[in-house]
Symmetry: C2
Subunit: 196 residues, 2 copies
DNA sequence: AATGAAAGGATTAAGCC
DNA sequence: GGCTTAATCCTTTCATT
């Protein structure tokens, strides 16, 4: 998929607000026909921009356990293993891996049981330390991001034009308006990495 | 809505995997007719268990900025204000409020700009400190939770029967199999609160 | 990307247990 | 109350331009 145009963004925004909204409805909003919207959504799915259509649940009504944030300190070599273990665990909702290799996750657990859960899930050998925080609230906003963020340089925030570049840093795509921003970003990333 | 039965859970799980899946398809899976599924989904929406149908996007393909985790240290009185400010901010994806009153959020920002973003969004007066971590990866699993978590006591993990109780602790609903578990949980919560 | 026809899904209403 | 079936209406898909 080359570039997302303004219409793609509006379609994504409408789907983020209501993923079951008929394409014919969306077509009216964006000034296209229903088949045209359907084609664009298919393309967005195939390119991986759309990962899945899903449902946002109020999990506090599901009696699934207390909501906790678990911070795992992980030695550099174990990050991928720990991440995989956590992502495969049943009670886990979110997983974040920081640039310096810590793994954070949120999960629904019995609060008295977290130590056992960590031991069972990742094992104590794979991590150097862990910390658990009880969460009182959480929210998730499926926004697409305003146009002002559409092409912002990941270093300086200026608009990325066709002169800009996209580069991989630590396995993830980032976008820069110029090569000096890329260099500055990369240096910061590597410094973080070295400290870890 | 009284109780979610096993069928409701399976419907939610199927919708979490594909929110655009036809109700007639789902009906086949769970052994009901399409109107019956539609009625259940409507009830789930009305009771607030289903907050919205939405789309999970690969935001790294949207050129929306670097993914950062911002941890805000917030004085007790300001938690609600800071939370509201962060939840209203355009670049924010997730917001977590810990039981001891810190506010964490993930956002897509230009990495060089985070200080300015925090100042603009929450103001420096409302917080005592903040910390920014670059995120290398993140994942979100819209799972409904297995039956084993369906009625787990939030303190001990045992099954909550009809003898159990639901109580509010710090504004959130929790479920307990007995009153001593509730007391233990509440005491832990209040100790955390006092330390903050 | 639009159109129109055909196929498929959602919703309604009536009736059952 | 919650379910089913059948009819209607709406949405999606496909072939064509």
């Amino acid at each position: 998929m080359g570039e997302l145009d303004e219409t793609d963004r509006r379609i994504l925004e409408l789907l983020a607000a209501d993923a079951r909204r008929p394409y014919s409805d969306i077509a009216d909003e964006v000034g296209l026909s229903a088949p045209a919207v359907s084609d664009r959504v298919t393309a967005l799915e195939e390119s991986g921009v759309v990962e899945r259509f899903t449902v946002d649940l109020d999990r506090s009504q599901l009696r699934e356990g207390a909501h906790v944030l678990v911070t795992l300190s992980v030695p550099p070599g174990n990050v991928d293993d720990v991440r995989a273990a956590v992502e495969g665990a049943d009670a886990v909702e979110h997983v974040f891996v920081t640039a310096d290799g810590d793994v954070l996750c949120t999960a629904r657990l019995a609060a008295a049981d977290v130590r056992a859960w960590v031991t069972d899930t990742v094992g104590t050998d794979a991590i150097t330390d862990f910390d658990v925080t009880l969460l009182a609230a959480s929210a998730w906003r499926p926004s697409v991001g305003g146009a002002e963020f559409a092409m912002a340089c990941d270093e300086c925030g200026n608009t990325v034009t066709s002169e800009g570049e996209t580069a991989r840093v630590g396995g993830d795509r980032y976008h820069f308006c110029c090569s000096s921003c890329e260099a500055a970003f990369r240096e910061r990333y590597e410094r973080h990495d070295a400290e870890a």
